[in-house]
């Protein structure tokens, strides 16, 4: 095969050039080659605005929150609460108190499993999730099941990795106590019909948690329109810092829940006989939170809003279509996850070449991709493969970077021929 035709007929609808300049790390070189960062599903890079917000917070406002009468403490508290308000606006929650700051999607899901699910689960009760969940949306429920005798019900996926609506409806039953579903699969790129999933569950009186760890930086997320009871995501996958994330919960749900951890800031009064818990969301934010992280996340969401989710989605659609088309020209290459509804992710296998070897070889061409099971081992079992190589895109990626990927993968094929 000749790759001479690579690049023919490409016409970028939106130019990521301007956005690239906002991300200093994209100027790095790897093995002497320009970095092509295509591992955005693992974590995204940070725009200068986020880096500046972190530095600015520590340079000018740093103090503990909700604790001091002094000026800096007030400034830090204001900055932290302003970030909460930005998150509220970004996902269209009704009230800022519905936004709980946590470490990331993983902690958000564990919080719901511990404080919402466990007290409500009895032996034989069922939690419905899909066959394409990240381990973070499986293991917390398994722990809850082990503690209560509840069981998991897994909605199968199609050969193309698509969500199967009939299979889902068939699993919703009288014992279903919760639906926990991904909004966008990190292993396959499949987008689930989240709004419909919530509608069907609510019709059966079942609350829904959506794992939005991937969706948050690729789809316009409107929790009001989705109607979900809980929505979980991580700051670091939407251009914000690591160590900060969000649990959105409907106010009435959060109010009905016991605290997750105990400590300072989450109580109203403490005696050795009893403690009275603070209102939401503070009830779930024990201890000194990641204040700078929240401020950085606020800056990241401002950045995404300024670019516009519509422009991001259009650009990524083009990248996915182009990468799919060009990769499929490589003999022996198979795309895993070809659902009609998909976004931002191209997972693939190459006959005779293990994903790890692909990852090492393209890294030497400056291309960063992920190789392995992507913390979704059940997905790999479903397709009977040990893992995939995965390119995942963000707003700053270019068609040239896709070309570098395709050339690297083709080199791996030739080396192993």
């Amino acid at each position: 095969m000749s790759l001479a035709l690579v690049g023919a007929g490409r016409e970028a609808a939106v130019s990521p050039k301007l956005w690239r300049d906002d991300f200093p790390i994209l100027g790095e070189r790897v093995h002497g080659k320009p970095l092509a960062y295509l591992d955005n599903a693992a974590t995204t890079q940070k725009p200068q605005a986020v880096i500046d917000a972190l530095a600015g917070y520590y340079a000018h406002d740093n103090a503990n929150v909700h604790r001091g009468v002094h000026t800096l403490s007030q400034r830090a508290t204001d900055a932290y609460e302003a970030a909460r308000a930005k998150v509220r606006g970004f996902i269209n929650a009704r009230q800022a108190e519905e936004i709980v700051f946590v470490r990331g999607a993983t902690e958000a899901i564990n919080l719901v499993a511990a404080s919402f699910a466990r007290p409500r689960l009895a032996p034989g009760d069922e939690i419905v999730l899909s066959a394409m969940e990240h381990h973070s949306n499986i293991v917390p429920w398994q722990l809850a099941c082990a503690a209560t005798g509840a069981v998991l019900k897994v909605v199968p996926i199609g050969d193309d990795g698509a969500f199967l609506p009939e299979a889902y409806e068939a699993l919703l039953g009288p014992r279903t106590k919760l639906v926990a579903m991904t909004h966008l699969s990190n292993a396959l790129g499949t987008v689930t019909p989240a709004r419909w999933i919530v509608e069907r569950a609510h019709a059966a009186g079942v609350p829904v948690l959506l794992d939005g760890a991937q969706a948050i930086s690729h789809l316009a997320v409107d929790v009001g329109a989705l109607g979900c009871d809980f929505y979980a995501f991580s700051g670091h996958k939407v251009f914000g810092p690591t160590g900060i994330g969000v649990l959105y919960g409907k106010a009435e749900r959060l109010r009905s829940m016991v605290p997750y951890q105990g400590g300072g800031d989450m109580i109203r009064t403490v005696t050795f006989e009893e403690s009275r818990f603070a209102d939401i969301p503070y009830r779930f934010e024990a201890g000194t939170p990641n204040i700078a992280g929240a401020v950085g996340l606020g800056a990241a969401l401002d950045y995404v809003s300024a670019v516009g989710m519509g422009a991001i989605a259009a650009h990524e659609r083009e990248l996915v279509a182009y990468a799919t088309r060009e990769l499929e020209r490589i003999p022996g290459l198979r795309i895993v996850g070809t659902a009609k509804e998909k976004a931002s992710i191209v997972s693939f296998t190459l006959e005779g070449v293990h994903p790890h070897d692909i990852g090492t070889i393209v890294d030497h061409a400056g291309v960063a991709i992920r190789a392995g099971h992507h913390c979704a081992m059940p997905v790999m079992q479903r397709f009977g493969i040990p893992g995939t190589a995965r390119a995942s895109f963000a707003l700053y990626n270019t068609l040239d970077e896709v070309d570098a990927l395709v050339a690297g993968v083709d080199e791996a094929r030739r080396m192993f021929r």
């Binding site: 070449v353 293990h354 994903p355 790890h356 070897d357 030497h364 081992m377 040990p386 080396m415 192993f416």
Partner: protein, 152 residues
């Protein structure tokens, strides 16, 4: 292709990855163990037939990346016919070779030296050592599968 890549993927490595030696379930085996690299999901089972302190036969089962497969293949070749003590010294030498950037030549490792290039690829070292960890577990009993993430 960069020089480091060429060092890693030598012809001998490709040869053993494509046509692994001793990838079979042997009729006789006195020791065996399973190994797992949770980072990539690779699994390997090592079978040994040890009698009078000598490894009469060594074989493996499993699929992995080129480095893991070639390493298992080369290892089983090297182990066959070796006294157990000598085999354990090979294990030590191999581990040293792939983890110590300053490691001098290891003539006693013979053909295994083709995997020396892996030390330039820290994230791939575990691919090369999986079979050897599993060999060690097979020799020293222990029923739980070993993992490349255990205690190191």
């Amino acid at each position: 292709m960069t020089a480091a890549l060429r060092e890693l993927y030598q012809d001998v490595v490709f040869d053993h990855a494509r046509t692994p030696r001793n990838r079979r379930r042997p009729a006789r085996s006195s020791h065996q163990a399973q190994g797992h690299n949770p980072l990539c999901g690779d699994k390997v089972t090592v079978h040994l037939d040890v009698a009078d302190g000598v490894i009469r036969d060594a074989a493996f089962e499993g699929e992995g990346c080129a480095i893991a497969t070639a390493s298992a293949s080369l290892m089983t070749e090297a182990l066959k016919g070796k006294p157990v003590e000598e085999a354990e010294r090979l294990l030590e030498g191999f581990h040293h070779m792939v983890t110590d950037p300053q490691a001098a030549a290891h003539p006693e490792l013979g053909k295994l030296e083709v995997l020396a290039g892996v030390r330039e690829f820290p994230v791939r070292v575990k691919c090369a050592t999986l079979a050897w960890h599993t060999f060690h577990a097979a020799l020293h009993g222990g029923h739980a599968p070993v993992s490349t993430e255990d205690g190191q």
